[in-house]
């Protein structure tokens, strides 16, 4: 897999590149600014671009804006945004704009090379990826009486994985369940939460996230 890494902090950029290279990922470009990133992506046509959310000049959301730009100009290139922000608002800006081949992870995940590579692979396969911590916050936030209370522990696990962007197949692998069982769980969950069933994977993720955030 070919990736481009964009982060204005040199230490991080080099570290991530190094880690990925060691894990067998082909780092084809490195960038310190959003502008540089767009140029490299254009030049190298990577499978996925890893983008820091805050980059010069304003250090606010340059990464998100660049991600949207990449999605628009190079729909085949996946984008993984790395961020310090736990608030789902930032992730949703990315996913709602373009759920295919999008990912949002907390920055400290970068040292967990297995998780990082897994996320990159899922993005490369067209799925979307959302950081487990952010999803856990959404699932676990205090609620007044909610249908969520009626879910079994296993169903909550499945729900979290769906929200993180896992496909049924991926969920079954992660939980060591048969695909049939996962399908049943998913159907039950969606029924209990009152979310209409949809065959479209991305739409399902967004519907679940919207439910959890509302």
């Amino acid at each position: 897999m070919r990736v481009v890494v964009a982060d204005d902090e040199t230490l991080l950029r080099e570290g991530i590149a190094r880690l990925l290279t060691d894990a067998g990922v082909d780092v084809v470009g490195k960038a310190g600014t959003a502008e540089d990133l767009l140029r490299r992506v254009e030049l190298t046509r990577p499978d996925v671009a890893i983008v820091d959310i805050r980059m010069p000049p304003t250090q606010t959301d340059e990464g998100l804006v660049a991600a949207q730009e990449i999605h628009r100009s190079q729909p085949t290139v996946g984008v993984l945004v790395l961020s310090h922000y736990l608030e789902s608002h930032y992730a949703m800006r990315l996913l709602e704009d373009h759920p295919q081949r999008s990912g949002y992870l907390l920055k400290e995940r970068v040292k967990d090379v297995a998780l990082l590579v897994d996320a990159l692979e899922r993005i490369n396969e067209g799925e979307c990826v959302l950081d487990p911590t952010i999803v856990a916050r959404l699932v676990g936030r205090p609620r007044e009486q909610s249908p969520l209370d009626e879910l079994t522990a296993r169903e909550r696990e499945v729900l979290a994985l769906i929200a993180e962007g896992h496909s049924n197949e991926s969920v079954s692998k992660k939980l060591f369940l048969s695909p049939k069982t996962v399908e049943t769980h998913v159907r039950h969950i969606l029924l209990k939460l009152g979310i209409g069933e949809t065959a479209d994977y991305h739409r399902r993720v967004l519907a679940v996230l919207a439910y959890l955030r509302g």
Partner: protein, 574 residues
């Protein structure tokens, strides 16, 4: 006393007029008026109208010199007839010889000091002095010393009481020079009056125009006489004299009109006194003055005691730069207020004094109030600045933590990870475990730093606004937060931060479910939080300080069942 003087002068004027008319009738050959009805009309009309107008002005505007000057000019108008050889009386003949040309400088003087009663420039003083000297000395007194009527063959002439020595030549030269000079000073006076006209206000304009016309006619008359070398009742001169009479009547009419307009303003001042008895006036003193003076654009400003900065009654800064004219209301040598008004509205100093006196108490009241309000405004602005400064400082620290410390920590943890992967398989399990422990601690340090940065300033508030930040808050709160309708638009950073602070503080102390709604109404952002909590645990002072800095209001109600309702109102200008 003054009334007696005025009456006496009026009697004198009528007598002089009647006598002059008699002279003109008896000796028409050397008269300007002659025997014609028109001539009599012009003679009496010109003089008596001026005298009447001058006397009224003297009575009404005691300190003003315009009145006496006009009355004097009226009498002097008649004296042009008195140097007539057929005048009969030696005394009248002598007075006539001296003063026949005294009318123009007096009229010019009255016009130049109108309406304030003062000359303004040194040039005016010098030209006027030259005019007096030219008319009374060069054309009057000096040649009279050398004029011996008998020696010059004027058999019918009365005796010249001032005769010193009969020198016909010297007398003729003086007259010739006097006529040239008179043409010059009369023209100079025309120029001065016109110069006045350029800067004059509406009320004095007509007087200046007809005054200039009159002086122009005088200059023309002297110019017409320069060949002959003395003033004579030739056909052209007589025509000019008739028009002069009309011009003088117009001068008198103009002055009278101006006086009447002033009187209207003064009777309005009397109304002001009554109006201000019901203090404070509903629309403020400015509205009362604007109505009385008939200037809707009138601005009333008060100078602040310490800085002299001008403010209106509400204490807001006032800029007077663009206003056409301004008048200071002075009380005991101190400027209590400044009026910016239409040009010429307050040229009458007496009127200004009367207004100041009538409105004294109300002015003083409003000035003090304006002073207090201005201080309040300053204070509020300074509070807002303090809050804004502290907010932007927090934002800066949050960014520094994010982009500095946090980035470095993540980079560090990444390095440790690389280090661990490079660790030789021979290294002890102890070293590996210690490294893992360090990594775990670094992780929690990163998480704590994130929380710290968020606590200092939530970046999501600056990035997404109030609604987004409140929803983000609900993801992390200890109690369920139900979010009602929220305005999705953006507000000023200080307003958003204040509103968010109220919600975050409420979420902090809530012990049970919390409900938030916010809406904009009447230019205010209204945030309402309902929750289960002990209201006393709220940091009320901090919230009130923050809202107060933006001129906002906070109310906290604790119901019996333990439900607390917090309501914050923040002016947001939309």
């Amino acid at each position: 006393m003054r009334r007696a003087v005025v009456l006496a002068f009026a009697g004198l004027g009528v007598a002089v007029g009647a006598y002059s008319l008699g002279v003109a009738h008896d000796a028409p050959a050397s008269s300007f008026a002659g025997r014609s009805t028109g001539g009599a009309f012009a003679l009496l009309g010109g003089g008596l109208v001026l005298i009447a107008c001058g006397l009224i002005c003297s009575l009404r505007l005691a300190a003003n010199r315009v009145g006496p000057l006009l009355a004097g000019a009226g009498v002097a108008w008649f004296l042009l007839e008195w140097n007539n050889p057929g005048v009969g009386s030696a005394l009248a003949f002598t007075v006539g010889l001296c003063l026949y040309a005294a009318c123009p400088p007096l009229v010019a003087h009255a016009v130049l000091v109108y309406p304030r009663g003062r000359l303004r420039t040194g040039v005016e003083r010098i030209v006027l002095a030259a005019a007096y000297a030219g008319s009374v000395l060069v054309l009057g007194l000096l040649p009279a010393f050398f004029f011996d009527p008998v020696a010059e063959g004027c058999g019918q002439c009365p005796r010249n009481l001032l005769l010193v020595a009969g020198r016909e030549r010297a007398k003729a030269d003086l007259y010739r020079v006097g006529v040239y000079l008179a043409t010059a000073w009369a023209l100079a006076l025309v120029v001065l009056v016109l110069a006045r006209l350029v800067r004059a206000n509406g009320r004095s304009r007509p007087v200046l125009v007809v005054g200039a016309a009159y002086l122009g006619l005088v200059a023309a008359m002297f110019a017409a006489s320069r060949q002959r070398g003395f003033l004579w009742n030739g056909t052209l001169e007589r025509r000019l004299w008739f028009v002069q009479a009309a011009a003088l009547a117009c001068v008198a009419a103009g002055v009278t009109w101006g006086w009447l307009a002033g009187r209207r303003a003064r009777s309005a001042v009397a109304r002001l006194v009554v109006d201000l008895a019901h203090t404070p006036p509903p629309g403020g003193l400015r509205d009362v003055l604007a109505a009385i003076l008939g200037d809707r654009e009138l601005v009333l400003a008060y100078p602040l005691a310490d800085s002299g900065r001008l403010v209106d009654a509400d204490g807001r800064a006032v800029e007077l730069a663009a206003s056409p004219a301004r008048t200071s209301l002075v009380r005991d040598g101190r400027i209590v207020a400044v009026l910016a008004h239409a040009r010429g509205l307050l040229d009458d100093e007496q009127l200004v004094d009367e207004v100041t006196a009538a409105a004294r108490l109300a002015l003083e009241n409003e000035r003090l109030q304006a002073e207090v309000r201005a201080r309040l405004t300053d204070l509020r602005a300074s509070r807002t600045r303090i809050v804004e400064t502290s907010d932007s400082e927090r934002r800066r620290i949050e960014r520094n933590l994010h982009d500095g410390a946090q980035q470095r920590l993540v980079a560090l943890s990444l390095r440790l990870r690389l280090l661990r992967s490079q660790l030789s398989p021979l290294a002890g399990a102890g070293a590996r475990a210690r490294l893992e422990l360090t990594e775990a601690e670094l992780d929690s340090a990163i998480a704590e730093l994130r929380e710290l940065a968020h606590g200092i300033f939530p970046a999501v508030l600056a990035d997404g606004g109030l609604a987004v930040a409140v929803r983000a808050l609900a993801e992390d709160a200890a109690v369920p937060i139900r979010i009602g309708p929220l305005p999705e638009g953006r507000f000023l950073p200080a307003v958003e931060t204040a509103a968010y602070t109220v919600v975050a503080e409420a979420a902090q102390v809530a012990t049970g479910p919390l409900r938030i709604t916010a809406l904009t109404r009447d230019g205010s952002l209204v945030v309402e939080v309902e929750m289960q909590a002990d209201g006393r645990t709220l940091d009320r002072v901090a919230l009130e300080d923050r809202l107060g800095a933006l001129d906002g209001r906070l109310s906290i109600d604790q119901a019996q069942d333990g439900r607390v309702t917090i309501r914050a109102e923040l002016p947001c200008g939309s």
